[in-house]
């Protein structure tokens, strides 16, 4: 594989303003691409921002409800003008562009925490909906199904990832390892001291490059007119997240970062040939697995709550009605 430069973008969204935040994505992606990056990764739920208020409000009070309504309004629908801008940016810059979004579903009712991967040809090459929100997040986000746990072949390695504390789900990680992930994205809100050790562990467990990408935002970055802004947030230096972005090599070594307390674009050159050769030492789904003892199965079926069927659409004629006397409820 050809060595490739990748970028982890640590920045502040314009909270709950989709278009303004996408404007930042475009600007920062241009900057990273100008620095040579062929993959540019943004934080968890970056567009239009992480719903930080779930950790500051009581679940159903007026501010929380108003903020949720704005989140729903500003969330990203896949296949809309918002994703068109992201796709065009990837194509124009010739980069892989991975962006965390609050994704609104097709019936405009539930929001998911999703990671979108746009290819250099502008196609949406992959989408991952977080399987399990954490604590207070469970009041604003739904859960993805097993159909979005796919890696993507980029030409410089297989790209995949999990979001925030999903990275503490050993079985979800194993599902990515089993698809040969070489470049593992971990967009997150977690800016604790222990997060970087987790990134290092995952790199070494999967012998993969890991990009931890975190938002960096304080009260001064919040737009005026945000519901509850005065009561929920302190002075300009009240940090919502200090950021914690880092790029880790396949032996667990820190290649860039951690970047704390400032916006910035971390760059690192990666070579997936090295990650794969490193699996001579450890391969959790190959020579260091014990498939006779431990076997994981993953249900990747898309799960929709309601499916609609019309007999008019069916290729086969409808079943004949039951004819037996006294057994009207029997079906075939």
């Amino acid at each position: 594989m050809t060595p490739t430069v990748v970028a982890a973008v640590q920045a502040a969204p314009v909270l709950l303003d989709r278009e303004a935040t996408i404007g930042k994505v475009v600007t920062l992606a241009e900057k990273a691409a100008a620095d040579g990056a062929r993959l540019v990764a943004f934080p968890e739920a970056f567009v239009p921002g992480y719903p930080d208020w779930v950790w500051r409000t009581r679940p159903w009070d007026a501010d929380a409800t108003a903020l949720y309504a704005r989140l729903l309004d500003q969330a990203v629908v896949v296949g809309s003008a918002a994703t068109d801008v992201l796709a065009d940016t990837a194509r124009r810059l010739g980069i892989w562009l991975s962006v965390g979004v609050d994704e609104r579903d097709s019936q405009d009712s539930t929001v998911y925490n999703s990671l979108l991967h746009f290819a250099p040809d502008g196609s949406l090459a992959g989408r991952h909906r977080k399987l399990m929100p954490t604590g207070g997040e469970r009041l604003v986000w739904g859960m993805g199904d097993g159909s979005t746990l796919k890696t993507i072949d980029t030409g410089f390695g297989r790209l995949g990832g999990l979001i925030c504390w999903e990275n503490y789900m050993p079985l979800a990680r194993a599902a990515l390892y089993a698809q040969g992930v070489d470049v593992y994205l971990a967009p997150t809100w977690d800016n604790s001291d222990v997060w970087v050790p987790t990134l290092r562990h995952i790199a070494k467990e999967g012998r993969t490059y890991v990009l931890g990408v975190t938002s960096c935002i304080r009260a001064a970055d919040l737009p005026a007119g945000l519901p509850g802004r005065e009561g929920l947030y302190g002075g300009p230096d009240d940090w919502l997240s200090r950021g914690n972005s880092a790029i880790i090599g396949p032996d667990g070594e820190v290649l860039a970062g951690p970047l704390v307390g400032e916006e910035g674009v971390l760059l690192a050159e990666i070579d997936t040939t090295r990650a794969r050769a490193g699996r001579q030492q450890f391969d959790p789904v190959g020579h260091y697995s014990r498939s006779d003892v431990l076997r994981l199965s993953v249900d990747t079926t898309p799960r929709t709550a309601v499916s609609f069927a019309s007999h008019d659409d069916a290729a086969e004629p409808p079943a004949e009605p039951a004819t037996g006397p006294g057994r009207p409820g029997q079906s075939r």
């Binding site: 399990m132 604590g135 079985l171 194993a174 390892y177 222990v194 562990h201 467990e205 994981l296």
Partner: protein, 325 residues
Amino acid sequence: MTGLRVAAVQASYVLMDRDATIDRVAALTATAARDGAQLVVFPEVFVPGTPIWIDTQVIWEGDEDWFGLLASNAVVIPSPASERLGAIAAEHGVWLVVGVDERDPHGGTIYNTVLYFSPGGLLAGRHRKLMPTGAERTVWGMGDGSTLRVVDTGQGRIGGLTCWENYMPLARFHLYAQGIDLWIAPTLAVGDGWIATMQHIARENRMFVVGVNPVLHADQIPAGFPGRDRLVPPGCLEDQGPWLEEGNTVAVAPDGAVLAGPVRQREETLLLDLDLGTVAVQRRHMDPTGHYNRPDVFRLVVDTSPRPAVTETNGATGITEPMEV
């Protein structure tokens, strides 16, 4: 279930000398017990030590005497050696966890095993490492799925995996699902990357973690050890320094914070007062086998059957049983 005083013993073994090393276990356990320890943990294959030649020599070249010592000093269960370890636990009324090079009674293969002795001196648990690492595969066999059990001490549930087994996500998940308060990771792994892994594992299952390493200075190789001059080639000493085992013993809290250690380049017993009752509270944040699991998506099947090499069947008596090796 509240406080448990744990001793994590970072010490040197007497290389390939089972009885002299068990003497060390006895002395160090006595000291730890005098200091109030209720659980005393020793490193990976502490008795009779690490086959340190595997990473410094060409495979199978001139290693006959060394492997012979390993085989003859390995611990058979049961044997006077394992009974003596049980007696040490009983004498001091402590839980004793100790890594051994284990051999079947008539077997020629050595396993990397961790033994759990109760304060009554009984063998309450045994774990054979599922997969050796790299050159370790030339001296150790692989355990089966029958030794992946958590041990209930009455003051908390303990268990763990050995060295790089700790990087096996499915094996960890199986132990997590049994409810484990204190994870014990006997290891030879050195450096900060290992500490990051100990922190990650603690936070992944919100439990206490104790990683325990041996320490060995080149000068501690017994005089008269066969091939002593070529056991550690000068180049290795120049590359790595005189510490053949540097040590890395560490204790981590359920939120991933380092409580003590890492201890390096010296013998030391870490004494830790762990409030295992806090584990249940921490799991409101993260419980990988409970509220943070997705059993509709992921299904892990674990085969825990013992897998003996031979099962004998007798048509006359109708008795079928595993053959002891």
